[in-house]
Symmetry: none
Subunit: 401 residues, 2 copies
């Protein structure tokens, strides 16, 4: 059921929903046998909770598809990532808290090293420090273009954000990043006729930037990609009828939450402090998205044991969350990041949905293999989770008489 | 696969399918732990049958969506309730057994209290008794409109049905019900140009009704909504190639069965008598929809024990049904009605599909938790059931060479 139809069914209720996202939660057995990271982790609290919950495994995007962080989170928020697509430029802007208007076109920029023949020598300009990035951004900010405002913002290290603001701009401009070294940067081509003027403005920006950066090797050039405009989607608070808060410290997750209309709180880094914040603001919101990052990083580092340990640490804070008395607590990930693969993966992600209104299944611990027998099923679309959560919170009305 | 495509595959066969619907069958544990109503019920016959069947749980509409009775049954009959939508006016007519023709536009009506300034004071006219409703309906029946027949029928309390019958009428007329008190009733606006004449006729009906009801406070006005025409859908007998009979005594279920083209038999109330009727008419039909209502009512009353007992009673009649030698017996519900929630719910509904042609799974009793391990899956779309039943009855041919 799509968001427009779900919005018609929303019900007012005085209930609270918590979505606890353990980034990259899903894993795989070390050396093909034995337990996964989650199965290895000591999770007595989640195991006890599983007995009173419905469990399963979700696929954030589609079977076999490895989700990026954006699509992974959109699915959790109920947005079909195949329908609701966000350009990288927009994600970049949201990620640093840059407030995009409807007149903006955003692109993700890399400072890059260009060789004497005009070819890309290093796509990341030797990973210059963020402080150097700031100095270079000051230089780029001096560029003026006719009829539009130019905004340039530091992201970090070699990454920056370019935003052109003006009337009639289009996001349909092709990347200048060739994605390979020893290739020359590409011209910003319009991908549709309406984008011609925008492409010309970008070309002019790129030319001016090259001149101004010429003496700043290794950051003597730049690459742009993901030109895009802010999409206008149904907002999360409107669709579900909730006051929604995001507790996340990383720009990407804050950005996606902001994109769907959540209020993004000023978040601490540690999980216990995040839960303190949730407790403090408990009365002000109906929905809390709490994002916990480190297990994903451990997975990407290939550190099986650390990932398992970090999951166990979060488990220790679960009673604290339950003490708040949520009507629904969803615990899952936005994708899998098996330490054995050191990368995001397509493997379905374990889910636990606890609610006093649920019909518990027979799953008695929280782990990938145990969840296979759960009531939610072994491989269901991630976007089904939010309607299920809202139903359990008494926030979705009856369809038809 | 949609009904048009399924129709292409239908196969003639001399086989019988019985769909036994236990209304509101699905439940939930009492006080969050222990068995559900069905798990508590004594169901030795269904349990024995489960061993030779395929089982699972279906979602009639979509994940998290609580089905009304109409959508719940449409799903069981193979119609996607999100695609095959019935207007509230039509449902209202079906609910009281009013036989709609193709020339009819139906609307759901409320008697309402209108204040001295012409604004809605009470959308339900103080919930007048049904007897009073009948008197007021007699008054409304005196209204004459040019070129159309006016039918007004009591539903109950403050609710009535309005049907205009004539050529060229449209259901695309907007509600006059503002859904709020202190607002004036809205004019019946045409939602498309073809509906202008219908909207004018409705406006005239409303004006005349106000005059005639003026002295009948609290029922001194009326509100209309859900203008709709009987939809023209692929018919059940045509899609599946079966002579289909409905055995149901409640108007709503009789109405939905009639809407999809089943022959609605004059049904007794008790389950054994219903099965007598099925036995009597066994040779005349290929498909029987048998509807059993009381467990839903027990669920809505919050009576866990009664619901369990009623399920057990139906179980006692299962051997009788099997004695008729159906090629397929489907036992399921149109939605869940957990006694703990006292209302329809989104929880998946257990299904048992028995056929000599099935490949039995390992489910050894009929209950929500047992069905999770079934071959049909823990959460599949209800509209898949009818193709599965017809396949098991040898009534669906091969797709492609």
């Amino acid at each position: 059921m799509d968001l427009e139809a779900l919005r018609e069914l929303k019900n007012e209720a005085d209930t609270k929903v918590v979505l606890l996202v353990l980034d990259g939660l899903g894993g795989a057995p070390f050396r093909q046998i034995g337990p996964t990271e989650l199965e290895k982790a000591a999770t007595p609290n989640l195991d006890r909770l599983a007995v009173r919950s419905v469990c399963g495994l979700h696929e954030p995007v589609a079977p076999g598809i490895t989700p990026g962080s954006g699509p992974g989170h959109l699915a959790l928020f109920g947005y079909d990532p195949l329908r609701y697509r966000v350009g990288r430029g927009v994600l970049s802007a949201l990620g640093i808290g840059f407030d995009l208007t409807d007149r903006d076109v955003a692109a993700r920029g890399n400072f890059a090293t260009i060789d004497a023949d005009g070819r890309v020598e290093d796509r990341r300009a030797g990973r210059i420090p963020t402080e150097r990035n700031r100095e270079l951004v000051e230089i780029l900010r001096e560029i003026e273009l006719p009829g539009v405002e130019v905004h340039v913002e530091t992201v970090r290290e070699y990454r920056f954000l370019l935003v052109l603001r003006g009337d009639g701009l289009s996001g349909e401009v092709r990347d200048t990043d060739p994605q390979e070294v020893d290739e020359a940067p590409l011209d910003p081509e319009p991908a549709e006729p309406d984008a011609e003027r925008t492409a010309e403005l970008v070309a002019r920006f790129v030319d001016e930037a090259r001149e101004r950066l010429a003496d700043h090797r290794p950051a003597n050039g730049l690459l742009l990609r993901g030109f895009s405009k802010r999409p206008s989607w149904p907002s999360f608070p409107d669709v579900w009828g909730v006051r929604a808060a995001a507790v996340a410290e990383y720009p990407m997750y804050r950005g996606v939450a902001r994109l769907v209309g959540m209020e993004v709180l000023d978040s601490p880094e540690s999980t216990p402090e995040k839960l303190d914040l949730v407790a403090e603001r408990w009365e002000e919101f109906d929905f809390f998205f709490v994002h916990v990052k480190p297990m994903d990083s451990a997975g990407e580092d290939g550190d099986f044991e650390r990932k398992a340990r970090l999951i166990g640490e979060v488990d220790g804070h679960v009673p604290r969350l339950l003490d708040l008395g949520p009507d629904v607590l969803l615990v899952t990930g936005d994708h899998s990041t098996p330490a054995t693969l050191r990368y995001h993966s397509w493997h379905p992600v374990p889910v636990l949905l606890y609610s006093p209104r649920c019909r518990p299944d027979r799953v008695e611990r929280f782990g990938e293999r145990a969840c296979l027998a759960g009531a939610l099923g072994p491989r269901f679309p991630g976007r089904s989770l939010m309607p299920l959560a809202m139903a359990h919170a008494g926030r979705l009305g009856k369809y038809g008489a």
